[in-house]
């Protein structure tokens, strides 16, 4: 006789009692593990007594399978067994599938170095394919764009205007506010550092140069990348998840012409305008700080601006805006087309489009800065 709550072993007799359900699973599993070897010796199924067994569910049957083994469980489930019919049905249902479920072996365990190498390889390959995809999509967009450009009848003015409003006009407040604040911060920075050299008047140059050449277009591009690239991806991605893109294709229309070209065109117009607003607003922020802390009046600020800062800085800055706009729009749209049918995929690609477009804006800006420096512009 062994001391156990659910399993009695008395000589050759095995008596099961209590509720063999999921609620008692942990206790049952430990008893089964302890007594399995003992029960295995009790060969005869006639000496297994289930009369005192309380409730039984599939978890309990799976433990019975572990305790008694497959053959004796099948005998208990057979028509010859004294169990009531619904209990036999339960035993049978579980016994039929339990081998299939245990047959599946654990997946092969990898080893760390190989996994790292594999991961790196997959990453490289995905990056390579992605670069090819972007290049291909830029080509398709340019081709379709020029094709449409030569045929004014196919210009989609409504779509262009709607996108222009969403990407341009609606972004004005946030772009103006953020660049105003950054302008003020740059002026503070200049005031603190340059005052030590007695050269605080050059704060004007600092603010003007930085905003005309770099901060105006780049900050705008980063804000627009977060705001508009994600919106493009989500719009096109949800259309793709909803099979709308396929419907456009089947309808004999070109989704690039319908969806991408108006968005790219709208952003090509909107981003330079936003960049201009950003430059003005940043310089105004700097001017305010100069007036309040450095006693450089706005009149003086503007006259220094006029005499020190050449037009070419403004042109260099503005020239970058359409490049940023094109890249942001193309990446946003491409990620939208890469969505694969589920809401989760829309989310993943939206994140990816923002990360990629901010990344590419900063990389292109850095390359452009080096290029302009070498050219002496």
């Amino acid at each position: 006789m062994t001391e156990a709550a659910f399993i009695d072993i008395d000589g050759g007799q095995v008596r099961l009692r209590g509720d063999w359900t999921i609620a008692n699973y942990t206790v049952l599993a430990s008893e089964v593990a302890r007594l399995r070897a003992l029960v295995a010796d009790t060969a005869d199924v006639a000496e297994i007594d289930l009369a005192a067994l309380g409730a039984l569910d599939t978890a309990g049957v799976s433990l019975l399978h572990q305790l008694l083994g497959k053959d004796r469980l099948a005998m208990l489930a057979s028509d010859a067994s004294p169990l009531p019919s619904e209990r036999r049905a339960l035993l049978r249902a579980v016994a039929d599938v339990i081998d299939a479920s245990t047959a599946s072996t654990a997946p092969a365990r990898g080893y760390a170095f190989g996994d790292i190498m594999e991961h790196a390889g997959i990453g490289m390959l995905a990056f390579y394919r992605h670069v090819i995809d972007i290049a291909g999509f830029i080509g398709i967009t340019l081709e379709t764009g020029f094709h449409v450009l030569l045929r004014p009848r196919r210009w989609r003015i409504t779509s262009l205007a709607a996108n222009l409003e969403r990407t341009g006009l609606d972004a004005v407040p946030i772009v103006a506010l953020l660049t105003f604040l950054i302008g003020a911060v740059v002026a503070f920075l200049g005031a603190t550092v340059l005052a030590g050299f007695g050269a605080s008047i050059f704060t004007v140059d600092l603010v003007a140069f930085s905003f005309l050449r770099e901060f105006g277009p780049m900050l705008t591009a980063i804000i627009v990348a977060g705001r508009t690239a994600s919106a493009f991806t989500a719009q096109i991605g949800s259309m793709r998840a909803n099979e709308e893109i396929d419907a456009i294709r089947v309808g004999g229309l070109n989704p690039v012409e319908l969806l991408v070209v108006p968005r790219v065109a709208a952003l090509l117009l909107a981003l330079p305008m936003l960049s201009f607003i950003a430059m003005i607003s940043g310089i105004v922020g700097g001017m305010l700080v100069c007036a309040l802390t450095l006693e450089i009046s706005p009149t003086m600020f503007l006259s220094v601006l006029e005499s020190h800062v050449g037009l070419r800085h403004f042109i260099v800055g503005m020239a970058k805006a359409p490049i940023f706009a094109f890249l942001i729009a193309v990446i946003g749209c491409l990620e939208g087309f890469r969505v694969e049918g589920s809401a989760q995929s829309v989310g993943e690609h939206t994140t990816s489009s923002v990360v990629q477009s901010i990344f590419i804006v900063i990389v292109v800006d850095a390359v452009a800065a080096l290029f302009c420096m070498e050219m002496g512009w």
Binding site: T26, T58, A59, P84, L90, R92, V97, I98, A100, S104
Partner: protein, 269 residues
């Protein structure tokens, strides 16, 4: 025959729109009950009300003899653990594999260790009729029929007493739908489940249903055996059961099979 679910005088209202008014419904232990009704009659709302996802404005819902709406939260959660719900689109957690989806309630509620839960999950997956390698897959990699089966495996994880199915065969091909019907019937007989099913599928109703409840005019119009319901005097019911599709489904099932199923299940906890 004891009632496992009793809905009394339930009123559901969304803004000015009244969906249910003074609705009564009984579900008996061990039966497969189909709830039918036109679009917008609140079949899914009724299911959501019984499982506790929607609180009715008035009325009572008692399950296992206890009024769900009056119970303290902990007791209610314990009762709801005896429900298994299969949502219309499966509602599998997309970030987990099928096996992890099924193991989650076992780990969270039954307090099992991961290895034990994994073994039981594999059993449930096999019970739901999925191949053994399906457990490693993510829901996004499964076909519609496999998603339903995986969701059924998760609904069965804690060995529920009542299984709620929201349009279980919608979107399945006829062969898959028939196999799913057969699976529900087998599981009901083997596990002693009570099945509450919202469905539009006339074939399902004719092949596996014990009783049918018709939702119309904001309440349960009739709740009885199929032959009684089909002869009920109501324009919508006549159209539903004696329209071309209803006749086809009725003829497809031999009369012997249409007899009420054996309901003599023992009380299983």
């Amino acid at each position: 025959m004891t009632n496992i679910i009793e809905v009394r005088g339930v009123r559901n209202q969304f803004g000015p729109q009244v969906v249910h008014d003074d609705l009564d419904l009984d579900v008996r232990r061990g039966e497969i009950l189909s709830v039918v009704g036109g679009s917008g009659t609140g079949k899914s709302v009724l299911l959501r009300t019984i499982v506790g996802l929607n609180r009715p404005v008035a009325g009572s819902v008692s399950v296992f003899g206890e009024d769900l709406l009056d119970l303290p939260a902990a007791r209610r959660a314990a009762l709801e653990r005896r429900f298994g719900v299969l949502f219309q689109k499966g509602a599998l957690f997309s970030s987990l594999t099928v096996a992890e989806n099924v193991a989650l309630p076992l780990i969270e509620h039954a307090g099992l260790k991961a290895a034990e839960a994994g073994r039981l999950a594999a059993l449930k997956i096999a019970l739901a009729g999925l191949p053994a390698n399906a457990g490693e897959k993510y829901p996004a990699d499964l076909s519609g029929g496999m998603i339903k089966r995986a969701a059924l495996a998760r609904a069965l994880a804690l060995d529920p007493d009542i299984l709620f199915l929201d349009e279980p065969t919608a979107g399945l091909d006829p062969i898959g739908a028939a196999a799913f019907d057969e699976l529900i019937l087998t599981l009901r007989d083997a596990l002693g489940l009570t099945v509450f099913m919202v469905t539009h599928d006339l074939d399902t109703i004719y092949t596996i249903t014990d009783r049918v409840a018709v939702l119309a005019q904001k309440r349960v119009l009739v709740n009885d055996r199929l032959d009684v319901v089909a002869d009920f005097d109501d324009a919508w019911i006549r159209e539903y059961f004696h329209g071309p599709r209803g006749r086809a489904a009725a003829q497809a099932v031999p009369p012997a099979q249409r007899a009420p199923h054996n309901l003599s299940h023992g009380e299983q906890a």
